[in-house]
């Protein structure tokens, strides 16, 4: 684990080996579930890493079940709405934290820090009881509200770190050149702030998409059950069929949006993840 500084052939091949190990580390469990999803029922228990025969049956089966399709729609809808709201509310607060002077800034930051450390299981029993009382149990808002709460700290940290890097003097300069406040905001500030807001949105979406504990505790029917819960509750097409193939196919479908985000926005996700935590 020493710091290598040597260059040349030996050093280079060492790095190649290190990188290959990292690649295998990250990809093997993912490739395994992909492989399972393409195995036909007859050979799913053969334990081969690469399928001997390939089939799309598992995918057809997953979409044949109402439960999964509705769960997928719930997952997408809930995650998108929670992301939009969290980013809007977070942007407002982060702007104040990054640009305005006001008493209580430390308090706001302290509250978000506490929530970032808060154990969600502690909220499950009271929320379960409260939501049943006010009719939010097993509804979209019943999940959207806790998701917003728990992603706000992330949103506020990330956004305020980004906002502190924006050269706000440009806004003044644009106004001096004769732009109206709205024009200055639209054509100067928005383009500068957009990457940070977008990055935050990706991180918040991944957080909501990933949630399992709230989803399994605060939902009970197709009305709001998300895909993570649906997978966990999968049973086979018949009582005697092992649901392995269907679970694998559904798991791959849940992974696709994440892979797309990672492939296209790798740089931004890294910047966003590290900006809030270590140094702005």
């Amino acid at each position: 684990m020493a710091v290598q500084t040597q260059t040349g052939g030996a050093g280079r091949s060492k790095w190649a080996i290190a990188n290959t190990i990292v690649l295998l580390y990250a990809l093997i469990p993912v490739l395994w579930i992909v492989s399972l999803s393409f195995k036909p029922a007859s050979s799913i228990t053969d334990g081969n890493f690469i399928p001997r025969e390939w089939t799309f049956d598992n995918y057809a089966q997953v979409f044949g079940v109402d439960l999964f399709t509705s769960a997928l729609i719930n997952s997408i809808g809930i995650a998108v709405i929670a992301t939009v709201l969290a980013v809007v509310i977070g942007t407002m607060a982060a702007y104040a934290v990054a640009r305005l002077r006001f008493p209580g800034k430390g308090l706001l930051v302290g509250i978000s820090l506490l929530i970032a450390m808060f154990p969600p299981i502690s909220l499950v029993s009271p929320l379960f009881d409260l939501w049943r009382g006010i009719g939010l149990f097993d509804t979209w808002p019943g999940l959207i509200i806790p998701y917003i709460t728990f992603s706000l700290p992330l949103a506020i940290y990330t956004l305020s770190a980004f906002f502190r890097e924006i050269p706000w003097e440009l806004e003044k300069a644009a106004k001096m050149d004769g732009a109206t406040p709205l024009q200055a905001f639209r054509s100067v500030i928005v383009p500068l702030a957009a990457p940070g807001v977008f990055t935050t949105a990706i991180l918040v979406f991944i957080f909501c998409w990933n949630d399992f504990l709230f989803a399994i505790s605060l939902t009970s029917t197709q009305a709001s059950q998300t895909a993570t819960v649906a997978i966990a509750n999968f049973t086979g097409a018949s009582e005697f069929a092992e649901p392995t193939g269907s679970i694998a196919a559904a798991a791959v479908l849940l992974t696709i949006p994440i892979i797309i985000f990672v492939l296209f926005f790798q740089r931004r996700i890294v910047a966003g993840l590290t900006s809030g935590a270590v140094k702005g």
Partner: protein
């Protein structure tokens, strides 16, 4: 407001920093203040309404006999739910399992994460690829990854189980199950640890390392005497967040073993009391105890190791 009760640390911080220097406020400063309060209000209201109020409500529920199967038999019973939980073997075994998983997985993650951070920091060939690939475990849904591990260790189905001697089924044995749970946890969260450490690594000046090398410091000396001390703030933040996160482990265990064979964490215990036993009173007592445990861990980290709360940072600028 109920803020004082939940955030005493933040409150004193505010007093120290906000109230002491108070020159007469100008018109502009006052309107700036009003704007700031308006902008922060929605975030503060929703964060408090969904955490502070329910945790207070959980404390209230935990003092009652409240079994959802016998809703009429509800009544105030003081601390006896806590007595029931704290004298039960289930709580302490779940607590021990949680601590074991937390300590071992955070320790492994730290070592692996540091190695990964050094690789990402130093490598030139394939840098973009490495950094992209590393994000996949971070981004992937925990439930999905847990299923991948479960199938991999299922005898017959899995490529890993088939490497074991015939007849062994790791997910039916306590020690082996915990090892698989730790493996799943480490796989998923090491990249996050590595990224936090990478950001700290970027703050170590290269010149300093070169100078040390010229002076004859070995790679190991450079790591332990220059890099690690300079990364201390980043390391503490990463460890604090991962420890708290590991302590609330739920998804991986739920999928891999569902808490059977003595592998349940405190979160699993709380969940089962609520949704299998329908005992809201006991479930709430467990929730409150977990909350207290997490608060203690955070407090110890910040007091003992001086982990700078990352939130303190924006205030300084």
């Amino acid at each position: 407001m109920s803020v004082q009760a939940t955030a005493p640390a933040a409150e004193t911080e505010r007093r120290a920093q906000g109230k002491r220097p108070r020159p007469p406020i100008s018109q502009g400063a006052r309107s700036e203040r009003r704007l700031a309060f308006l902008l922060c209000a929605p975030a503060v209201i929703i964060m408090l309404a969904v955490t502070a109020y329910p945790i207070g409500y959980a404390v209230w529920l935990s003092l009652q006999r409240y079994d959802l199967r016998f809703p009429d038999d509800r009544g105030f019973i003081g601390l006896s739910n806590y007595a029931t939980v704290l004298t039960s073997g289930y709580w302490w075994s779940a607590f021990a399992v949680t601590m074991i998983i937390t300590v071992i997985s955070v320790a492994i993650e730290f070592v692996l994460g540091l190695a990964l951070a050094l690789i990402m920091h130093r490598t030139i060939i394939g840098r973009g690829l490495t950094r992209t690939v590393v994000l996949i475990p971070y981004g992937i849904v925990t439930v999905v990854a847990a299923f991948s591990w479960q199938f991999a260790w299922t005898p017959g189905t899995g490529y890993l189980a088939n490497l074991l001697p015939a007849g062994s089924a790791p997910l039916t044995d306590q020690v082996a199950s915990i090892a698989v749970i730790i493996l799943a946890e480490v796989w998923k969260t090491t990249p996050f640890m590595a990224l936090l450490l990478l950001a700290g690594l970027a703050l170590v000046p290269d010149d300093l390392l070169k100078a040390a090398q010229v002076d004859g410091a070995s790679p190991w000396q450079r790591l332990t005497q220059i890099i690690l001390p300079m990364m201390k703030p980043a390391i503490l933040v990463a460890l604090l967040f991962r420890t708290l996160d590991a302590f609330r482990i739920f998804d991986n265990i739920y999928i891999l073993t569902n808490g059977s064979n003595g592998t349940g964490s405190v979160s699993i215990l709380g969940y089962n009391n609520l949704f299998r036993a329908f005992n809201l009173g006991l479930g709430s007592a467990i929730s409150v105890l977990i909350f207290i445990a997490v608060a203690l861990i955070a407090f110890l980290f910040i007091k003992l190791f001086g982990a700078a709360a990352p939130g303190a940072e924006p205030e300084r600028r």
